[in-house]
């Protein structure tokens, strides 16, 4: 890659906080380190990954509203976790976490465990205790 071909496709992936370091050949044929704000295919692939998270989170919200899933499930999807990672963060066996994800079991979870979930999922415990779907649309 030549320095003049350095990709300049800024999709704000770095929020202005930093740049991507790339290596390219200058006019004399020497490799130099250059800064780039992004590369189109990379931005496309990144957007694809985020679209998927959004889709998964939106459908999780519907399932919570329906009562099939507990609010914990919604926040788990929002935090891009699966049962395995969530169970590891909670330090609980997977079967217990799976139980907590079901809508019908949610009212029985004690408040101490709910607080722990809130911490792991980076939310206020009230967001779980009095879950309001409209807040997360």
């Amino acid at each position: 890659m030549k320095v003049e071909d350095m990709p300049k496709d800024d999709a704000n992936a770095l929020e202005g906080k930093t740049s991507f370091i790339q290596y390219a050949v200058d006019k004399e044929g020497n490799y130099v380190q250059e800064k780039s704000p992004g590369f189109e295919p990379q931005n496309i692939a990144l957007a694809q990954a985020w679209d998927e998270v959004k889709e998964r989170t939106a459908s999780a919200l519907e399932e919570v509203i329906h009562g099939d899933k507990s609010p914990i499930y919604f926040f788990m999807c929002k935090e891009m976790m699966d049962v395995k990672i969530l169970a590891e963060y909670m330090n609980l066996p997977r079967w217990r976490v799976k139980k907590h994800l079901k809508g019908k079991n949610f009212p029985e979870i004690n408040s101490k465990i709910l607080q722990e979930y809130a911490k792991v999922l980076s939310i206020d415990s009230n967001d779980l205790l009095s879950f309001e779907a409209s807040k997360w649309r």
């Binding site: 890659m1 906080k17 740049s19 692939a45 980076s122």
Partner: protein, 337 residues
């Protein structure tokens, strides 16, 4: 607790492991460029593991296992490094960090990026093989040199503990490392020759179909079949994952190929080898092919087309790359330096 800031120079790098290694070595008086670190650490690699899924897509990787670059560098340069991890005691892990910092030793750590508060949000996924260096502490905040960031960053004790104990694939488990001693009389030309041989060997001689140019060929064959095997969404997600591995933060472009070409160029000057200079140019050409592949694959992802034709054509591109890399690394392997 306050710990005096160590006189440590932060600098950016394309890849975190290169950057941390190069910043740590500089502190101990060894000045090496990022491409040199990358080359000496035999960082160039390829593997495609269709049977192993990460974030719901088969794993393709342009780098060896996290930690390999350090390991190789230490080996070829005769550096003594102390590595420790604290499986289940975050408290101890933080104490050990403070105690090293008090002794004016900058400390490298493996962390997850998901909860790394200063990191750009669009890049925060559950990825656990990121490397940073701590070199000071003030008002409960650690001073962090992260090679991906323009400037040093502050990170709270709570946040640092959280990222050192990130969960998911490749848990860091509080892993940290520091240099115990370096030898100033290492033989750079010898180290270069050794690591070139090692890289070339991995790319052409590794047994089985998943590593080196054979891995690229296997991925090409896989891509060709994706539109028949999976629905449009899944096929395009798999392809998106390949692009991300190749171009997302840390590769310096084209899955490290440009970094390696830069290493070969620097080495050609040090060893006065015209042949290496020619091979560096050739690696640049191969890097450009990878880049074109990414552009075309990106278009397939964007158009959400699942027609076999578009997948077939990028698969052909990749087969061509596999052939070029086979030829290239065979020449490199046989090169008498």
């Amino acid at each position: 607790m306050e710990i005096e800031t160590i006189d440590f120079k932060h600098s950016m790098a394309a890849h975190c492991e290169n950057g941390v290694t190069s910043n740590l070595l500089r502190y101990y008086g060894i000045e090496l460029s990022e491409p040199m670190i990358f080359g000496l650490g035999s960082g160039l690699f390829f593997t495609y593991l269709p049977f192993l899924k990460l974030n719901g897509a088969p794993v393709s990787s342009f780098r060896p296992m996290p930690g390999r670059i350090f390991h190789r560098i230490n080996k070829v340069l005769g550096i003594k490094m102390k590595v420790s991890s604290f499986r289940s005691s975050p408290q101890k892990a933080m104490q050990a960090l403070d105690s090293l910092l008090t002794q004016k030793t900058p400390v490298g750590m493996v962390v997850g990026v998901y909860h790394l508060s200063y990191f750009p949000a669009p890049l925060r996924f559950h990825f656990n093989a990121h490397n940073i260096v701590a070199y000071g502490k003030k008002n409960g905040q650690y001073l962090i040199s992260d090679p991906i960031m323009e400037n040093p960053e502050w990170l709270s004790e709570e946040d640092l503990k959280r990222v050192r104990y990130a969960k998911g694939t490749y848990k860091p488990k509080g892993k940290m490392y520091s240099i115990e001693s370096v030898s100033q009389d290492y033989n750079l030309p010898q180290a270069i020759k050794k690591s070139i041989k090692y890289t070339a060997m991995m790319m052409v001689k590794a047994p089985g179909p998943v590593i080196g140019y054979r891995g690229i060929r296997l991925l090409a064959k896989g891509i060709e079949k994706w539109p028949q095997k999976y629905d449009a969404k899944k096929a395009s997600r798999y392809l998106g994952s390949v692009i991300r591995m190749q171009e997302e933060i840390g590769t310096g472009g084209a899955g490290f190929r440009f970094l390696y070409a830069a290493f070969l160029q620097e080495s050609s000057k040090l060893l006065h080898s015209d042949k290496l200079a020619t091979l560096s140019n050739e690696m640049t050409e191969i890097g450009d092919l990878w880049r074109t592949f990414a552009v075309n694959a990106g278009r397939v992802v964007k158009n959400r087309t699942s027609n076999g034709e578009s997948y077939h054509s990028i698969s052909e591109e990749l087969k061509e790359i596999a052939l070029r890399e086979k030829d290239f690394f065979t020449k490199l392997y046989q090169l008498k330096l």
